[in-house]
Amino acid sequence: MKIIIRSQSELPIYAQIMEQIRSQILKGEITEGTVLPSIRKLAKETGVSVITTTRAYSELEAAGFITSVPGKGSIVLPQDNALLREQYLKQIEEYLTEAIRTAELIKLDRSELSDMLEALWESKED
């Protein structure tokens, strides 16, 4: 598990922790059944407050990524990949719709917009 806290980030620290753990679970870098470090250990290691890490874990729990088992700790739950894919597709659709609306504002036509998407896709870092 890797967690980087950025003090200049727009996101509150609990959200940064939550996002990073979530993304590592989704990418399969943290696998189902993994026991996460305790709230207090994580606070100590990352140098943030216990209240902050508690919030990160409870949001992960509410979102169905982990569950806390008394005496064992916080455990990563299996992810329903089909459902997640569905959610992400919906999100992509929203962003693209937003892009189309913005393009219309400055009268950018369809082919120019898709050229832009192509170019961005080409230049993205892996």
Partner: protein, 280 residues
């Protein structure tokens, strides 16, 4: 049960009143006690450590008052202050002997380990110690006992960034098992920005606010803009407006709703900035 509970603490001096201070810290958390110089921070901490006697109020440590059992009460507290409280002519070994005789739970091995780790010179008198060395000796003394609360009164003042960071790590280690807490007074708010769970903010002997640090940092935004855009409605709703020749800066309480037009610069404040604007 709360680890430390302060209820209605009041202390009157000729020209200062510590006025009805109440707060509590659950076990396993760090509270920052902040305010400018002379706000009443040391008076509060001295009442908790029982260096001074309060005029009114009650202080309970793990449910126990000083009056009930002074020896046990003192055993539960580790204290590190701004200035060294050791006799200046003693060496670290003299301190070791004093602590051994004074505290039931003093762990000599632990003390020696800290001496080793921090390389405090064996035969040097404390008056020859640097500020950093004195602070380390105080921390070693406090951490070598089985205490329940660490009370720090401006303990990180005048330390270099390396030592300060090391101390912050020690504090987090101290509370890691969830049974012990830290009460940390400082005006170097940078030290609290990350590790503090709660913030108690005091000014002129009175409470300004008491909340979790996360809540505090999420409630307020720092707004900057041109002075001409500052309409009476906006001005009324902002906190601690500071104007200069080219613009203004103020706190915006997000709980007051969305009254800000676009065009202002909005960013997350530090605890420092919150304190400065609240005292405007």
């Amino acid at each position: 049960m709360e680890l430390l509970e302060v209820k209605g603490l009041t202390k009157r001096y000729k020209d200062f009143l510590l006025d009805d201070i109440s707060f509590s810290i659950p076990p396993g958390f760090i509270m920052g006690y902040i305010g400018k110089n002379g706000a009443g921070k040391t008076t509060t901490l001295s009442a908790i450590t029982h260096l001074i006697k309060a005029d009114a109020g009650e202080i309970c440590l793990e449910g126990m008052t000083f009056r009930k059992d002074p020896v046990t009460y003192r055993e539960k507290i580790g204290y590190v202050g701004d200035a060294s409280y050791f006799p200046a002519d003693l060496t670290r070994n003299d301190i070791r002997i004093i602590l051994r005789n004074f505290y039931r739970s003093f762990d000599e091995k632990k003390f020696d380990d800290y001496m080793e780790k921090w390389e405090l010179p064996k035969n040097l008198k404390i008056k020859k110690y640097s500020r950093g060395m004195k602070v380390k000796l105080m921390f070693a003394s406090a951490l070598s006992r089985d205490t329940r609360i660490l009370i720090l009164d401006e303990a990180t003042n005048g330390l270099d960034p390396m030592v300060r960071r090391e101390i912050l790590e020690l504090l987090q280690e101290y509370i890691e098992d969830g049974k012990r807490s830290v009460l940390f007074s400082t005006h170097i708010l940078e030290d609290l920005q990350n590790i503090a769970d709660y913030i108690y903010f005091i000014d002129s002997g009175k409470k300004v606010l008491f909340d979790t640090k996360d809540e505090l940092l999420e409630t307020y935004l720092l707004v900057k803009g041109g002075t001409e855009e500052l309409t009476p409605v906006i001005e009324k709703n902002l906190t601690g407006i500071v104007k200069n020749g080219y613009g203004f800066e103020a706190l915006y309480d997000t709980g007051k709703g969305d009254f800000l037009p676009t065009g202002f610069s909005v960013e997350k404040p530090t605890i420092d900035e919150i304190m400065v604007h609240m005292l405007q």
